[in-house]
Amino acid sequence: MIFILIAMWLFFRWRVGAFYFSGESIAKLSRDMATWTILAAGMTLVIVSGNIDLSVGSLLALVVGACAYMIAPEEGLGWSACLAVALALCIGIAIGLWQGFLVSYFRIPAFIVTLAGMFIFRGLTQKLSARDPRLPDNCFVNVLGFNYLPPRVGTILALSLCIILALLILNGRRRRKRLGLDPGSPLQTALKIILPSLIILAFVYKVNQYRGVPAQTLVMLIVMIVLYFIARHTRFGRHVYAIGGNAEAARLSGINVEKTTILVFGIMGFLSGIAGIVWMAQNQGATQKAGEWYELYAIAACVIGGTSMMGGRGSVFGSLLGGLVMATVIQGMDYTGLPNWMQLVIRGGVLAVAVGIDVATKNPAPWMQRLRRSLLRRY
């Protein structure tokens, strides 16, 4: 999949020109994908647990609407921004937990619960955002929408991240040696440290040439790292994968399937809230159409990134990759100035083709295997 991404980047570079690889363009890419990629991080856990959440776009809109309504002095209540943000996040968490509760204790299929949620929350949003509540200019939330990390801070942060990564990997290597396990070749360890560091540093370098790391991107990356940690390194994360892989075996192993499911949806709700705050900052207020289709972008990002719809398989950074692919397509289409309808068609087409190519290389259908074999024999 990473090759497909690089191929796409090269294609757009050719079509759009040198601007495509400039700091501004890269910064814009990372900004635009921030909201629904945050959703994709949570969606990864949801899908891995064997469920699905179709309501996240509408929930995001609801959070945006509620929060903007609370803050806006003219169209709304004029409350303090801190209070509003805190309350809005609580709304997100509460709704998430509620949906999880319906799924695990009432055994209503997640598809239906969240589909219903999608309609319900959108309806509530339309009422709350009917007058397009605007955020005042001096609201601190705007920071998330328009600010950038000063280049020096950005560089220091990136360097410290790389150093922390190196320390963690080297530490892991030392502990493995102490337990008598194979630590892997020095080359492997070096690559594990160098490759991600290069990517981080290259990104920061480029965006610093523009204005620095966008605030939204920073939030997105923090969310990704935290979710990755939860998924891979905590007991809760393991339980999520176990439930998605085989719920019955998980239950017979003593895992509390209901509690874990509720928590997964709760986390999704919380992340919908965070994505909502970022969206609100980016758009300086609320609209009735906030977050439209975002649930599908999130799910698409997960699937492109290798998450299996059957549950039990998937990774957070894979979803980040999937998000990059989707964002590349969307932004690239924008630059080439194609009519809107054509953009939608191509967006869907790319999704199908990208995943199709991925599946064909990893898990080809029998007729494909036969074709490959007969071609190999010919040459």
Partner: protein, 507 residues
């Protein structure tokens, strides 16, 4: 193998070599099947039986292996199982290929429904299905949904489905895994009838008693090679086992001398109501006890309630139950498996693929799942200590795998069962429930699991074992109880038990 006076083989494999990434599954296997014979194929798990069958039936198409498959003497190239079906080869797989929510009749005619212009003629379908079942002597209502039948009846429906199509070659892969003695006899009658009609049958099984009952010839595979092929009459059980394993297995059930200690588990007056049929009891007033260092065998026919008994005590009961459970004298309230685990119990369930393991996860992830808390600080998993503990347990159990990170689905049945055991052994449990621990496992791995059970009892664990194999129950248990229709009908010490006495109590 003399060839002069024999008729020509109808299906043969000549010098088959099949590689998978990292392993050579078949290393020059030769096998031939004569018309009108029942030819048994035996070998340890991993010897290559399933691979050979998949090649003969076209699942692994021509081109994916070296060597030749011959039909009636001439080379043939199957590109899919459809090709082999057209030639007249049918396979009954270990995993049932039935659609659970369709009726028996619909399943029997699946893909081949009678009717015109695409409209199904249900009257013909059901009457023909009834005829097929009657001819085979199977008593099942053709209009019930398959999901309501027990596993044994489901297996018979699968057999009926395949046998209905006139085939020249029928391959049966472990067909009796879920059948009780009566049904096994029925299957053997069906096989003999087919043989009389000229059909050639390949019979794969771990149950050597059955093999000797029914087979004309036996072929033994070991490590991907054909070790021997001969008339069943020329062989005996020990010789076959030796050929399979390559060494003498004199003691199938190593008897370990140990003296039992305190009473670890006591169950009193356990009663379980049938959730589907109110008023009927799945378990009635069951009481028993197990001591430290002791193996209690639970015998009985299928449907007697053994699995329900064990599931209920473990907190996974199918319905409402009442009774008393005491662990080391203290009464415990068990509502869900987590409660049972906290009380020191462990369960290796009957269906290791669907209840015991998460097939898409790795060996390591499966083994650490139950007691993950032992490797965590504040909810964060310590990967190194997890790996350390699991690899130690894997070594102790003798799990054969290239690495702990391998997906558990790729392991053989015996190794998978050891992984399920390993889940519980990373942390000292006091009471271990084993439900059919050696079902579908080859002789070598079986002996290993029995040896492990002996070692665990030596360390003081109390073991409750449910098994349908009488030799296993008689050979391994210290004490035996027999269930029939949910009631305890007999209790024996190993010394005073005999197959006849147990059967009498069970029927």
């Amino acid at each position: 193998m003399s060839s002069g006076t024999h008729p020509a083989p109808i299906l043969s494999a000549v010098d088959i070599v099949k590689d998978f990434p990292g392993v050579r599954a078949l290393d020059g296997v030769t096998f031939d099947l004569l018309p009108g014979e029942i030819h048994a194929l035996v070998g340890e798990n991993g010897a290559g039986k399933s691979t050979l069958i998949k090649i003969l039936s076209g699942v692994y198409p021509a081109g994916s292996f070296d060597g030749e498959v011959r039909w009636r003497g001439s080379p043939v190239h199957f590109h899919s199982s459809k090709d082999s079906e057209k030639a007249g080869i049918s396979v009954i797989h270990q995993e049932l290929a039935l659609v659970k929510h369709m009726t028996v009749g619909e399943n029997i005619f699946l893909g081949d429904e009678p009717g015109r212009l695409g409209i199904v003629d249900f009257d013909t379908l059901y009457s023909e299905a009834e005829k097929v079942l009657r001819r085979l002597g199977v008593a099942v209502d053709v209009r019930t949904e398959v999901v309501h039948l027990g596993v044994a009846k489901q297996q018979l429906v699968e057999i009926a489905k395949t046998v209905r199509k006139k085939c020249r070659v029928l391959i049966l892969d472990e067909p009796t895994a879920a059948l009780a003695d009566q049904e096994v006899g029925l299957l053997m009658d069906i096989m003999r009838d087919l043989r009389a009609c000229g059909t050639a049958l390949v019979y794969i099984s771990h149950k050597l008693d059955e093999v000797f009952r029914i087979a004309d010839r036996i072929t033994v595979l070991r490590d991907g090679k054909t070790v021997a092929t001969d008339l069943a009459a020329n062989w005996n059980r020990e010789a076959v086992v030796k050929a399979m394993v390559g060494r003498e297995i004199t003691d199938m059930f190593p008897i370990v001398d140990h003296t039992p200690g305190k009473v670890a588990l006591e169950v009193k007056n356990l009663s379980l109501e049938n959730p589907d049929v109110p008023g009927r009891m799945l378990l009635e007033d069951v009481s028993f006890y197990v001591r430290e260092g002791e193996i209690l065998g639970i015998a009985g026919l299928m449907g007697a309630g053994r699995t329900e008994l064990v599931s209920t005590i473990f907190g996974a009961s199918p319905g409402d139950w009442k009774g008393e459970i005491r662990v080391y004298g203290k009464a415990v309230k068990i509502r869900k498996p987590a409660d049972a685990i906290k009380a020191g119990m462990a369960l290796v369930p009957e269906d290791r693929k669907h209840q015991g393991l998460t097939l898409i996860l790795s060996v390591l992830e499966n083994m650490s799942l139950v007691h993950l808390g032992d490797f965590c600080t504040a909810g964060v998993v310590d990967a190194q200590s997890e790996y350390h503990a699991c690899s130690k347990t894997a070594d102790e159990l003798g799990i054969r795998t290239p690495s702990l990170h391998v997906i558990v689905e790729t392991l053989s049945g015996g190794n998978q069962q050891k992984v399920v055991l390993g889940k519980w052994l990373t942390h000292a449990s006091k009471i271990l429930f084993l439900d059919e621990p050696t079902r579908g496992i080859d002789v070598g791995a079986k002996a290993e699991i029995h040896r492990l059970m002996g070692e665990l009892t030596r360390k003081g664990m109390a073991i409750v074992m449910v098994s349908s194999e009488l030799p296993e129950v008689l050979g391994v248990s210290d004490r035996i109880i027999v269930l029939r229709s949910g009631k305890v009908t007999g209790e024996f010490l190993r010394s005073s038990a005999s197959p006849e006495k147990i059967m009498e109590c069970a029927m």
